[in-house]
């Protein structure tokens, strides 16, 4: 699946955040979006993941060059992991199963996919724990597991390591590396950590003056 953002504009309370912002995300791989605080990285991610509408401009999702309509079916092929995981007050298992259950998946498939996702983020041993008792690093990995369980074609990660310790940062980076090796998921993420960006990015992007630009690594 490819994503073309054309001339996206967005502002809040009269303040321009993005304007005339265009980019074509067209290869599986990892795009890392950087820029100063408040430059619109998260806003762009939320617009691209269909959580917010732009004030102007257009998003075009295509699959084999066929345009996709922006309905629930498309929304279920992409997902955004928020900087702070909205943990449901239930077990780790039920948290990861949520996205599968809303898709009406049967019990056996749910068990299998949840198991695989938790394994991928190294949290299989926490399956029965109440998710609200997890540390912030574990919560972030839970957020990743929830997203990975639904096999997204585009995975948006908003500051995935902003509030976690070094150990969990390394774990999360290795999860993103493994995703890259699998080569099935396009990852579009934001970070303010230059070293992390250098380690993870196939394509490095910057937002400056409300626009997106590509930088050579």
């Amino acid at each position: 699946m490819n994503l073309l953002a054309s001339n996206i504009a967005k502002g809040y309370g009269g303040k321009t955040i993005l304007s005339d912002c265009s980019y074509s995300f067209s290869n599986a791989g990892t795009y890392v979006l950087m820029g100063p605080n408040g430059c619109g990285k998260s806003t762009l991610l939320r617009i691209c993941s269909l959580l917010e509408r732009p004030d102007a401009g257009e998003l075009l999702f295509t699959d084999n060059e066929k345009p996709l309509s922006q309905d629930i079916d498309l929304r279920r092929r992409i997902t955004l992991v928020l900087p702070k995981t909205g943990v449901f007050n239930t077990t780790v298992f039920n948290n990861v199963a949520y996205g599968l259950r809303v898709r009406g998946m049967d019990r056996h498939a749910v068990m299998e996919k949840v198991g695989r996702a938790l394994d991928f983020v190294g949290m299989s041993h926490k399956v029965k724990q109440n998710a609200r008792t997890l540390s912030s690093g574990e919560s972030q990995r839970l957020g990743l597991a929830r997203a990975l369980a639904i096999n997204p074609e585009i995975l948006f990660l908003d500051e995935p390591t902003a509030s976690v310790d070094e150990e969990n940062t390394a774990l999360i980076e290795s999860i993103i590396h493994n995703l890259k090796k699998d080569g099935r998921t396009m990852v579009i993420m934001t970070t303010h950590d230059h070293d992390q960006a250098a380690r993870l990015a196939d394509t490095l992007l910057f937002i400056a003056e409300h626009k997106i630009t590509e930088r050579k690594k």
Partner: protein
């Protein structure tokens, strides 16, 4: 009655033997309040969710009104239902005045604002990130709503228990619309009022003790539920 102590002793004897009349009164109390609570919950939880999750014109007014109605004086509700159901009232043709049904109607009116207002407050206290997370994971708007309601489940249960406490302890409204007819509309609170008037303190005390025991159970349950909601995994 010689002394208060004697009254208590007689009361305990009544409770231990639990004669049929006493049992009937307790059962009717639980039935009327339980049924009223069932209706209030069936309407109040969706109404609370609507107030908490949807934006619509007049929403603020609706929230203020529901909060105000939480403090409805029972006798006023009794009077209102009485006028509605009395022979000359708009619903007089149904012949419901002085029946358990009329008592259920009155208690439902008392319980509904409590369930609605406390559910609303439980739901608005859920972090908006829960709804957003559900959306990122592919939930439809309906599924998002269910996710938020499920997250607020402990608060909602507390709302229901609080309303049950209120209707169980209530006397003014059901006395007016039920009429305190022996074996038909006589419940614990109305019996206590009547028997105290008659100087028959043993029965009044016995019922008072049972009412307190029920109230204690409800409050313990409420405390347990609240603790479970605020401290997961503990």
């Amino acid at each position: 009655m010689d002394s208060l102590l004697d009254g208590f002793l007689q009361a305990f004897k009544l409770i231990i033997h639990l004669d049929q009349m006493l049992f009937g009164i307790i059962l009717l109390s639980l039935k009327v309040s339980g049924f009223a609570l069932f209706i209030a919950t069936a309407i109040g939880v969706p109404a609370g969710a609507l107030l908490g999750l949807k934006r619509f014109p007049g929403r603020d007014l609706a929230i203020s009104s529901v909060n105000t109605l939480m403090g409805l004086p029972p006798v006023v509700v009794g009077l209102f239902v009485y006028l509605l159901l009395s022979r000359k009232g708009p619903l007089g043709f149904m012949g419901l005045l002085y029946s358990p049904t009329a008592m259920v109607v009155a208690q439902t009116i008392l319980a509904l604002p409590i369930v609605t207002a406390l559910c609303h407050s439980a739901i608005v206290n859920i972090d908006p990130i829960i709804r957003l997370s559900a959306r990122t994971l592919g939930a439809t708007p309906g599924q998002e709503t269910i996710a938020v309601i499920r997250e607020a489940r402990y608060g909602i249960l507390s709302a229901v228990i609080a309303a049950f406490g209120r209707v169980m302890a209530e006397v003014g409204a059901i006395l007016i619309v039920g009429g305190n007819i022996a074996g038909y509309t006589r419940v614990m609170t109305t019996t206590i009022a009547l028997e105290t008037d008659k100087g028959n303190f043993e029965l009044a005390l016995a019922l008072g003790i049972i009412l307190l025991a029920i109230s204690f159970t409800i409050n313990s349950l409420l405390h347990f539920v609240q603790r479970k909601g605020s401290a997961p995994g503990s």
